[in-house]
Amino acid sequence: MTVTTDGDVILEIENVVKHFPVRGGVFRRKDYVHAVDGVNLSVRRGTTFGIVGETGCGKSTLARCIARLYDLTSGRIEFDGKDISTLSTGKMRPVRREIQMIFQDPYGSLNPRRRVGSIIGDPFAIHGIASGADRKKRVQELMERVGLNPEHFNRFPAEFSGGQRQRIGVARALAFQPKLIICDEPVSALDVSIQAQVINLLADLQSEFGLTYIFIAHDLSVVRHVSDQIAVMYLGKITEVTRAEKLFTTARHPYTGALLSAVPVPDPDQSDRREQIILVGDVPSPIAPPSGCRFHPRCPKAVQQCVTDEPALESRLGDGPDHLAACHRPMAVGENLHDFRPAIDSSERIIEVPGSLLPDDAGAAPADPVRAQAEGSDA
């Protein structure tokens, strides 16, 4: 079940699963972190595919699976018409030229004891292409292309600011004119004014080289700006995937709705107008994910079916094949999640603490400010 597209598909992911073993518990029981649990998606050439989700939803693990930095537990990845999911390290090497990654932390992803020129030259060294003066020339071209001064060839990473270091990471990824670049939170560690510089650089490179990006970020406004398609992940599953604009105008999955409403908008008027849906509690553990729909313990629209049956990722409410949601009770346009109360047994839910300051959007008695005040002041 993937988003069907008429364009040329460069990456096709089928039912990818990645579990990490964790040892522990009483009887030395072996548990698994269900980091990615059956993900399907397809990415068209020359476009940007955004993946959003909260900490622990599996978005970075999925990225690393695609780059084959992790071996898959199961599933299939087809890149440019070729199944790469089980290639050996040696067979994978030529493919690695075409799939590159840019990482979040521009401090942690560059070796502090090596000069920038040699860091960016690494891909050439590893693949045995261009040496000596020729390599230096190509490295300097790359530096120039990403907006670094080529004369800084012999400097160390510490001599660069965060934004410049991210440019170094971009230059390194570009060395062999890859087809696909996986950007894992590429601007999250940067200041706002610098973020925009890097985003523009990525956009320029995309149009210049026809690059395809997988863009992972938790900042929804950035993802919205750069992406053609966006997938939302929750606890190892894709909950919704569609064109970027549609996600923001007609979100079907209540989790998407809650996520969108929680994003702070840098506009006081919009910020005052919007009704925030505040989810109760935290994301459950990926070691023992909830049954059925994984969002059901926090979902205001949950019904018994959500506890027992896992919803398929498919078109809902008459959406076209480019808009899929894994939800038994998708949201209609204009629907307000505040109007719903979960109709499932309370043992299946994460429940708000009575008297807490968090309002209750998921069903328990509304927080009573008078009572909270009394509790707060009498002690």
């Binding site: 600011s161 523009n200 996520l259 505040i278």
Partner: protein, 345 residues
């Protein structure tokens, strides 16, 4: 009379590379019950300025005054500060894991805080109060969770526990330094909601330090924009977002992706933030400013009233009346059409 009045605060650190002037002559005030948002990028001095007030910047050279409820915090002895910290001014930091002691139960840490300041309370009462506070910030089964260790809490729960601790003694002022930066958006929404409710119930004033303009738009009453250790602009929330005066504020707002369907090119601020070692004599933003004039490079403008809104202050040589200012800007832009293009290196 404002609750906290900071005047001419200067903070510098001696380092191996020279003297870092982290905060340069800033003044601001916080009204009781209001939220002051301080926004700025890394190295703008936003955190140092509040940490100094709390006596938390050891080894710094500090001058100026910070009058809190009639007392100058910068002149206070460490014993006096100890009494104010926690009881009258609560603090929450960015990283809730490193601000909780990993070896002690969460409840114990709240109890310690309470009993240090409130000698009348016995142990059981303090533990009961700690549990009640955890419940108040929305931690499920507080009577049980109060005996948990910090590692048993999720990130959002830890930050909520920090809020509970900070609010335990009903302080008049809460300083929240990037309280939600390490958290996911849905958890961020929870934490901001708790802070806001606390404020409504107890009339606490809040200084909220953040780099996220979205959070500012959400919760701040007044906003202070800092850059290179200086205050660039101060305005109420609406004025800041809709009628900002300072080119730095304008640049910050413009560099955000529009929250709509447009995918037009972003307009970043070219260049890099300034070094705080030997800052240039003029405006720290001058090297990146699209409207820079000769004067900007040599003289720092004062933080003067700007525009038509009372309380709106801006440190910029551009004329402070909007009509004249527009004209001046246009002149600068026409004379030097470099503008805000280019990525800068």
């Amino acid at each position: 009379m404002a609750l906290l009045e900071v005047e001419n605060l200067e903070v510098s650190f001696r380092t191996a590379d020279g003297v870092v002037r982290a905060v340069r002559d800033i003044s601001y005030h916080v009204e009781a019950g209001k939220t002051l948002g301080i926004v700025g990028e890394s190295g703008s001095g936003k955190s140092v300025s509040t940490q100094t007030i709390m006596g938390l910047t050891r080894g710094a050279q500090v001058s100026g005054r910070a009058i809190f409820a009639g007392q100058d915090l910068l002149a206070a002895s460490s014993a006096q500060l100890q009494e104010i910290r926690g009881a009258k001014i609560g603090m929450i930091f960015q990283d809730p894991l490193s601000s909780l002691h990993p070896y002690y139960r969460v409840g114990w840490q709240i109890v310690e805080m309470i009993r240090l300041h409130d000698k009348a309370m016995n142990k059981e009462q303090a533990w009961a109060r700690a549990a009640e506070l955890l419940g108040l910030v929305g931690i499920p089964q507080p009577e049980r969770r109060v005996r948990d260790f910090p590692h048993q809490f999720s990130g959002g729960m830890r930050q909520r526990a920090m809020i509970a601790m900070a609010m335990a003694l009903n302080p008049a002022l809460l300083i929240a330094d990037e309280p939600t930066t390490a958290l996911d958006v849905t958890v961020q929404a929870q934490v901001l909601r708790v802070i806001r409710r606390m404020q409504e119930l107890f009339g606490t004033a809040v200084i909220l330090i953040t780099h996220d303009l979205g959070v500012i738009a959400d919760v701040a009453d007044e906003v202070l924009v800092m850059y290179g250790g200086k205050v660039m602009e101060r305005a109420d929330r609406r004025t800041l977002f809709y009628q900002c005066h300072h080119p730095y504020t304008e640049g910050l707002l413009q560099s955000l992706p529009a929250y709509d369907s447009s995918r037009e090119r972003l307009r970043p601020i070219p260049g890099q933030p300034p070094s705080l070692l030997t800052p240039p004599p003029g405006c720290p933003f001058a090297p990146r400013c699209p409207y820079v004039m000769d004067r900007c490079r040599t003289e720092m403008p004062a933080l003067d009233p700007a525009g038509e809104t009372p309380g709106h202050l801006s440190a910029c040589w551009l004329p402070h009346q909007s009509a004249e200012r527009e004209q001046a800007r246009r002149q600068v832009m026409e004379a030097e059409p470099a503008g805000s293009t280019g990525a800068g290196a």
